[in-house]
């Protein structure tokens, strides 16, 4: 779906922000891009819809070279949801806000209406349909921003730090929604430094640090690699930390809360 080949990027008159990135996001996959602030995560995903063009190397989206296509045509396939909803909300009503992209992409009036209504219902925003997006809470504004991209059903959905400032329940709801999209056959990429969220929900990860890829593969394997985490300024998720400590006692449960509970109960039964 997205193919990045030896991507180097720098802004004029500054150092390289991305240094030789190669990766592949296959169709229908669910991938996290993890890394500290300033690692180059946002810069990388801005290449996915052509907002930025490689200084060197190549980015292919659905087989299209991003250098040869406009942002508008690439954005139709790759939906990018920015971190701060206040950087995009502008319309008088939630309805218009969500319809914005659909109108830009030239959907017919009837279709616009149908899709907006559908996505508002799905994200539990329908009761705010005619309200100003500016008067909603932060969590709701984030959902409106998400809806305004989801509505045109891009093949790939990229979310930049979707969990920032979100409480536990909001994160859980977001996770459910993303899983539904993946189940429907969409490709979802989440850019984040929220290790806990990734460990709990996203199967595949790419770890980025200082403009380079430091690891990619199964999330739980990557996040239990102590050296890798230390080098990339990340902390292990709590579950991993617990597993490490348990393994020193000779307990090796599978990485899930239930398994840990089970293993601990057993250990207690066995000890005098």
């Amino acid at each position: 779906m997205i193919e990045v080949q030896d991507l180097w990027f720098r802004y004029p008159e500054s150092d390289y922000v991305l240094k030789g990135i190669s990766l592949e996001v296959p169709r229908q996959s669910y991938v996290a891009i993890l890394g500290e602030n300033g690692a180059g995560k946002t810069t990388l995903v801005k290449h996915f819809n052509g907002l930025l063009k490689p200084t060197r190397g190549k980015v292919l989206v659905c087989g299209l070279d991003t250098r040869e296509h406009s942002v508008a045509s690439l954005a139709r396939r790759v939906g990018l949801v920015f971190q701060n909803p206040d950087h995009q909300l502008f319309a008088n009503t939630v309805y218009e806000e969500v319809a914005f992209a659909l109108k830009n992409f030239g959907f017919p009036e009837e279709e616009v209406k149908r899709r907006v209504e559908a996505i508002l219902a799905e994200l539990e925003l329908d009761r705010y349909r005619d309200r100003s997006p500016f008067l909603l809470s932060m969590g709701e504004r984030k959902r409106v921003a998400l809806a305004s991209v989801l509505c045109y059903e891009p093949d790939v959905l990229v979310l930049d730090e979707p969990t920032t400032g979100q409480d536990h329940k909001q994160k859980e709801k977001l996770a459910e929604l993303l899983q539904r999209l993946v189940d429907k056959g969409k490709t979802v990429v989440v850019v984040t430094h929220d290790v806990e969220f990734v460990a709990d929900h996203i199967p595949i990860s790419i770890i980025l640090s200082r403009g380079q890829i430091r690891g990619q593969g199964k999330t739980l394997e990557l996040l239990s690699n102590e050296d890798l985490l230390a080098e990339t300024f990340l902390f292990p998720p709590q579950l991993t930390a617990i597993l490490w400590k348990l393994s020193k006692l000779g307990l090796h449960p599978a990485p899930s809360v239930e398994e840990v509970v089970e293993a601990m109960l057993q250990a207690r039964r066995q000890s005098p």
């Binding site: 500290e36 602030n37 300033g38 809470s137 932060m138 969590g139 920032t164 400032g165 979100q166 409480d167 536990h168 329940k169 909001q170 994160k171 430094h193 290790v195 806990e196 300024f233 990340l234 902390f235 709590q238 579950l239 930390a241 617990i242 490490w244 400590k245 348990l246 020193k248 006692l249 307990l251 809360v257 239930e258 840990v260 509970v261 601990m264 109960l265 250990a267 207690r268 000890s271």
Partner: protein, 286 residues
């Protein structure tokens, strides 16, 4: 030692409604935070945490208006009777957005701003600026512009500019929400050190309890404008109810709760992974 002193912050039946708002953001809040305490306030989004923070230095109601009932008393001063600039010398307030709260052209001037407002002599300002820079470990950033710093550095500058005014209470409203884990930890570590070293009372709002609950001496859980519970973090968090209102429990606690349900005796609910594992290590580990 702590209990002999009068409390740092008291909320007495505080209710507050923003102007043009229909619903109360705080509802009959009662709260008592002792001097030198490290209090963490948590709760789902929109529960009134930020509103509570702004009450402590009098921004609410002095600058915001609205309907204010009840009393907030900070070190014996009722916030209704003292202007914000006076309370500001008692209470430092650090905001969530790292960049917007820094409005000067250099870090040094940022830290000096409050002291200049107080009309302190130049030498005193200089000495206090340097002291604050050292306390936060940001002396190397002294002549830098705030906009070119990282989020973590910006928060430290914001904390320094409060600490320079030598407040007795430091209030931080989700200071790490926009930071990555490492920067977040380094900001929280610095706050913890200030609490221990200077004895300044800390009131900190945070969602991610796994990062902070073990540092807290008191945890306050808010829900829909009310204080749901307050007390020692282990005691407060060891409850399914907390999870039900949408607060994310640290995994060790969650596991301990599940263990307890299955008859595993838990005397001290664990906040950290090592504490959880000790439950089965049974002393043989050490």
């Amino acid at each position: 030692m702590v209990s002999a002193l009068p409390p740092a912050v008291i909320f007495e039946q505080v209710s507050y409604k923003y102007p043009r708002s229909e619903e109360y953001s705080l509802k009959k809040v009662n709260l008592r935070i002792e001097q030198g305490e490290f209090a963490v306030i948590t709760g789902p989004s929109g529960c009134g945490k930020s509103t509570l923070c702004k009450c402590i230095n009098g921004l609410i109601p002095h600058s915001y208006g609205g309907t204010f009932k009840g009393k907030v008393i900070v070190h014996g001063k009722c916030t209704l009777e003292h202007p914000v600039y006076e309370l500001a010398q008692l209470v430092g307030l650090v905001f969530q957005d790292p960049e917007s709260q820094l409005f000067c052209s250099t870090v040094e001037k940022e830290i000096a701003f409050g002291l200049e407002n107080l009309g302190l002599p130049r030498e005193e300002i200089l000495a206090r600026v340097e002291e604050a820079l050292d306390l936060l470990g940001i002396a190397h950033l002294r002549y830098r512009a705030p906009y070119e710093l990282s989020g973590g550095e910006q928060q430290k500058v914001a904390i320094a500019s409060c600490i320079a005014m030598r407040p007795k209470v430091l209030v931080l409203d989700e200071p790490t929400a926009n930071l990555d884990p490492l920067s977040a930890k380094s900001v929280l570590d610095v706050v913890y050190a200030l609490n221990k070293k200077l004895g300044v009372t800390v009131i900190l709002v945070e969602h991610r309890l796994e990062m902070i609950s073990h540092l807290a001496s008191k945890l306050v859980v808010m829900y829909r404008g009310e204080v749901l519970t307050q007390g020692p973090p282990r005691k407060v968090l060891f409850s399914w109810k907390i999870l039900e209102i949408g607060v994310g429990l640290p995994k060790p606690l969650l596991i301990a709760l599940m263990l307890a349900e299955k008859g595993f005796p838990i005397e001290a609910p664990p906040l950290l992974p090592e504490e959880l594992v000790e439950l089965v290590a049974g002393g043989e580990e050490r």
